[in-house]
């Protein structure tokens, strides 16, 4: 059938309307659509999202159709605007509890307690991570993954130079000085493409110098950020930066370039997160003959041994205005299936490490990635026992965390003193604490 020009013109608004179907719309096959916006994903990640999440979910049942859009780095801003306008997706993914706090406080997402009861989510998730999304006694999100800062190092380089894996600050500095003497950068690091690298490092300094108990006290308002343990932490970070431990080009190298320095033996170690496992271009192979990874050792006197850092890289909620609440919950339930867990962690390691309680070793054994398996197993055990530090991007409120990232550059580049930095941080933190912007804080054990 040929259309007349008038019919063609008349069809344009209808087509435009169809393209912008509101939530609650039905797909052609009669299934109710569930919308989900995702942030950044590399090509491997996008393939994993498409195959392991969207296609697998849609093939698993006939009631709902998951539609996923990869929105890029600006997703957090887009999401806020869309939620206020009532046009957000059904599934609201944030970059962690620190981002969720404002959205949950504003009532833009639904309490999940009914679903949690129905699907027994509270029994199935690790409490420390699930509780980061509890506000006023109500659960507003599920944690999508867990992360921690770790010490990645070139084991070949260590072997060649007879270096032992450091277990405290003295040993760490001995290795770093020995590396410097040989023209090797002690820690591969660079923030040219992502200033958040500053907070990765400061998470290590605050927790591993001042100690996780002091950090928890500060986050709960019992200890000011200007207290001596934090001064020591900031001063050590400055001393290390000024000694050249992070190389001459910290502000010029991208994350990938700096990490590859470790893989290529131009740098000895790197403080990086468990997300590094999921980036093939970082040179982490499966199984790896060059690289190894360990929890970060103590760098002060507050504790001995090593420490992992509790982080939730993303939370999953259901929008207040969602027209398909049941469908969104069904997607969450699908994510908790063993098949999804295995497939996603095989294809995109570290990105979707759902913090479930029952993580038998065989769930990861098919991945063929020993370093990742070892790290996740250690994290699971530490998080289960409450033995962890606190990551800045999960537990620091927005303005304080933003200043933590930006202001530390002023300290390292001798523009302000550590005292001035911590005083400003305390001012911002006090204000945000008064305004209820500090994310929920889980207990920890020694």
């Amino acid at each position: 059938m040929t259309m007349t020009r008038r019919q063609l013109v008349a069809s344009i608004p209808a087509a435009a309307l169809a393209a912008g179907l509101p939530r609650g719309a039905y797909a052609q096959d009669g299934r109710k659509v569930v919308t989900f916006w995702f942030g950044q994903a590399n090509s491997d990640g996008q393939a994993a999202l498409r195959n392991d999440l969207v296609e697998a979910f849609n093939a698993s049942q006939d009631k709902y159709l998951l539609q996923l859009e990869v929105k890029g780095a600006a997703v957090n801003n887009l999401l806020k605007v869309a939620l206020v306008a009532g046009n957000g997706p059904d599934i609201v993914q944030t970059a962690g509890p620190a981002y969720l706090t404002a959205i949950a406080n504003a009532g833009q997402v639904l309490p999940l307690d009914d679903f949690a009861g129905k699907y027994k989510w509270k029994e199935r998730f690790l409490a420390p991570l699930l509780n980061t999304s509890v506000y006023g006694g109500k659960l507003y999100a599920l944690p999508r993954d867990y992360e921690s800062m770790h010490l990645f190092y070139n084991k070949e380089l260590f072997k060649q130079n007879g270096w032992k894996l450091p277990t405290n600050r003295k040993e760490m500095e001995e290795v770093a000085d020995a590396a410097l003497a040989k023209g090797i950068i002690p820690f591969g690091a660079g923030n040219a493409d992502w200033k958040g690298v500053n907070e990765w490092l400061m998470t290590v300094f605050f927790n591993n110098v001042a100690g996780p108990d002091n950090v928890r006290k500060a986050l709960s308002g019992e200890l000011p950020w200007t207290a001596p343990p934090f001064v020591e932490a900031v001063e050590l970070s400055k001393a290390w930066y000024n000694k050249g431990y992070f190389g001459k080009n910290y502000f010029s190298l991208t994350i990938e370039q700096s990490f590859l320095q470790v893989v290529n033996a131009k740098a000895a170690m790197a403080f990086s997160g468990t997300w590094s496992f999921g980036t093939k271009s970082y040179g982490m192979s499966k199984p790896d003959t060059v690289m190894d990874v360990a929890p970060t050792p103590t760098l002060g006197s507050a504790f001995t041994g090593s420490l992992v850092h509790l982080a939730c890289g993303a939370t999953l909620s259901i929008a207040k205005t969602s027209q398909n609440v049941e469908g969104a919950a069904a997607v969450f339930e699908f994510m908790l299936t063993r098949k999804f867990y295995e497939a996603m962690n095989r294809d995109w390691p570290g990105k979707w490490a759902l913090p479930v309680k029952d993580l038998p070793p065989e769930m990861l054994s098919g991945i063929g990635y020993p370093l990742f398996e070892k790290t996740i197993a250690n994290l699971h055990e530490a998080f289960s026992k409450g033995q962890y530090g606190f990551t800045t991007w999960t537990f620091w409120p927005g303005a304080t965390n933003s200043y933590l990232i930006e202001g530390i550059e002023q300290v390292w580049l001798n523009k302000i003193t550590p005292d001035a930095y911590l005083t400003r941080m305390q001012t911002l933190f006090s204000q945000e604490a008064r305004e209820g912007k500090v994310p929920p804080l889980p207990p920890r054990t020694a």
Partner: protein, 282 residues
Amino acid sequence: MWLFALPALLINICIILVPAVLTFTAAFFIWDGVGTPVWAGLANFQNMAADPVFWSALTNNFIWTAIFLTVPVCLALVMAAALLMAPKARIVVQSIIFLPRIIAVAVTGRIFQGMIFSPATGIVAWLNEHGFSISDPLADPDRSLYAVAAVDIWHWWGFLAVVFLAAMRQISVDQIEAARLDGAGFFALFRYVLLPGIRPTLTLMLILTVIWSFQVFEFIFIVTRGGPAYGSEVLATFAYRHAFFEGDVGQAAAAACVMSLFGLCATAIYLWLQITDDAQST
């Protein structure tokens, strides 16, 4: 006559005036972008005035303005005058110097960041390997603003030159020939014929430069994100950080008001100059 202006007026009211009024209003509220705004009076402006980063951002905007009122303008004027005198080279040279303008800002930023200034993959790396000790200017808080300005100048000056050349070509050929017959050299011709001949265009571009300089954002955000250590922070990156990283929309709106204030001042000066010119010509 008003009917003809109505469509444009309506569009401007919807997409310019309403957001501008909302932004101005937001400057008097504490708002995280998703919750309920709370009246704050002048608190956002007071907090901004007490923040040293705001003052360094404002200073950087003034430095940026001074740079862009001089360096690219001088380069463009000299190039336009030279091209006026050399008509055969005009098309080729214009195409070359205009090229940076049509390359996307993000691409230009990444080219300078990764292929020129980078100590790992750029010309700076190559120079260091060949005995020249040069550090990445983007990594130095005292030089980063100037380094980003250099990138923007590269992107901008060719466009200015083409605009100035177009204006110069409107000057009467007889006037230029007469000056030459009177023995005027390049600089005398430039000073006494070409510059006065393009005065309205020059004034407009200078005023626009002031307005744009207080709104500068893309290059700085892409290349340095205002760093390191706030070294290249300007009002726009200051506002962006508050709005989207710190969840403080009110503070961001207050910074936006300051940016608009300078734009308004520049616009007022331009209108005053126009009125003065009109009065003189009647």
